[in-house]
């Protein structure tokens, strides 16, 4: 009789991930970047169920690891020492395809007193760095990748996962007080990567929803002077749609969710070159909201 394969289950808030892998260093790395999640094995429902399996040890250019899900291998293999980045990126991609009960924005989300600040942005705009820095400045970390919006209530659900810092951002965040980073993965397809570990309280609050209060579209540019411009709500709707994984797939549901989000929040565009200046600006604007 064949025994059921044990899966390691990660309950990150809005979703459950189930992972099977015989690669020991992957589990050691997961222990480092998910230190506040209870380790469970469970054969119940998971939004994403993946296996990370090692390739042949005889491969001349180094051993690889592949991610399998639902009988498919959606990505090219990675070097075996980069199994954690493959799991994080791969499972995020799968979540972006599957969590269609919610409007999914490509955004960082932080909160104060359960009032959320949503930071939608395209890749390379400094969203992850800013989200991590805000967490270190005392904001609750809800996500660095997904704003998960419940279209029925307008609330945002946390998806508390380690945030992949790249290249220069690793030192920028790593040098801050209380920053906890996971292992460094040099020379991945996205450059050097190390994962920021959200604080324990944020992880423990991963099932506590927040009410969106403000939306800020950040854009980092080295040396840029701080510039923060209010956006009208129609423009905010358009930009929310552009920064969503599933806005068009949801059709009328996504439209109404984006319109309601824009109506209930204040929106700004933030262009910045200094992280601390940006944080101070955000704190001031957020505190000034009625």
């Amino acid at each position: 009789m064949i025994e059921a394969t044990p899966y390691r289950v990660l309950d990150v808030g809005a979703a459950k991930l189930a992972l099977h892998s015989p690669i020991e260093c992957l589990h050691a790395d997961l222990d480092r970047v998910y230190p506040h999640l209870p380790g469970t094995t469970d054969s119940g429902f998971a939004d994403v169920r993946v296996s990370l399996l090692p390739g042949s040890p005889l491969r001349l250019r180094g051993r690889q690891v592949s991610l399998w899900s639902e009988g498919e291998r959606p990505f090219e293999p990675y070097p075996i020492h980069s199994a954690l980045p493959l799991f994080e990126w791969g499972s995020n991609y799968l979540l972006s395809q599957r969590l269609n009960a919610y409007l999914l924005l490509h955004a960082g989300v932080v909160a104060r007193d359960d009032l959320a600040l949503i930071l939608p942005a395209s890749p390379g705009s400094g969203k992850t760095t800013l989200t991590c820095a805000l967490n270190l400045a005392g904001w609750r970390f809800l996500s660095d990748e997904f704003a998960v919006i419940d279209p029925d209530t307008g609330e945002v659900l946390p998806m508390v996962r380690p945030a992949p810092l790249k290249n220069r951002s690793i030192a920028v965040i790593g040098e801050r007080d209380a920053a906890v980073l996971g292992p460094l993965y040099p020379g991945t397809r996205k450059g050097d990567v190390a994962h920021f570990v959200p604080d324990r309280d944020s992880t423990l609050a991963r099932h506590r929803r927040a009410r969106p209060r403000a939306v800020m579209f950040p854009r980092f540019e080295a040396g840029a002077r701080l510039h923060c411009k209010p956006l009208d709500s129609a423009t905010a709707v358009m930009r929310l749609g552009l920064n969503s994984f599933n806005y068009r797939a949801l059709g009328p549901v996504g439209f109404h969710a984006a319109v309601e989000l824009a109506r209930r929040t204040k929106a700004w565009e933030l262009h910045y070159g200094d992280l601390d200046e940006a944080i101070a600006c955000i704190e001031t604007l957020f505190a000034s909201l009625p």
């Binding site: 129609a234 806005y247 009328p252 439209f255 319109v259």
Partner: protein, 104 residues
């Protein structure tokens, strides 16, 4: 109303909203501009108040079965504002006649 076989299977037939109803629900005023959800592509468009007014006139013409005449009027008046004809056509696709075809 659902066909008996559908009702038995617990399936509800859905009826496409009329063009005017679509505009009511999916062409919303926000800060003096309008956001419009295209009923065919599900893309969202940002419209001026004037463009939203033209769409409303088009929807009314579609429901009164005079969309062809309305299009002629628009051409005589100098032509469609950029990209608006396509959006009017998507509204026309919501309108069904007893014969089963949208007009235009």
């Amino acid at each position: 109303m659902a066909e008996p076989a559908e009702a038995e299977a617990g399936v509800q037939a859905t009826v496409a909203p009329s063009p005017l109803r679509w505009l009511e629900d999916y062409c919303l005023s926000m800060d003096g501009q309008f956001v419009f959800l295209d009923p065919v592509s599900w893309q969202t468009h940002l419209l001026t108040e004037g463009a939203a007014l033209v769409l409303r006139e088009a929807a009314l013409a579609i429901e009164e079965a005079r969309f062809d005449a309305f299009r002629d009027e628009v051409v005589e008046a100098g032509g469609w504002p950029p990209a608006l004809e396509q959006l009017a056509n998507t509204l026309n696709s919501l309108h069904h006649h007893p014969g089963g075809r949208a007009h235009g």
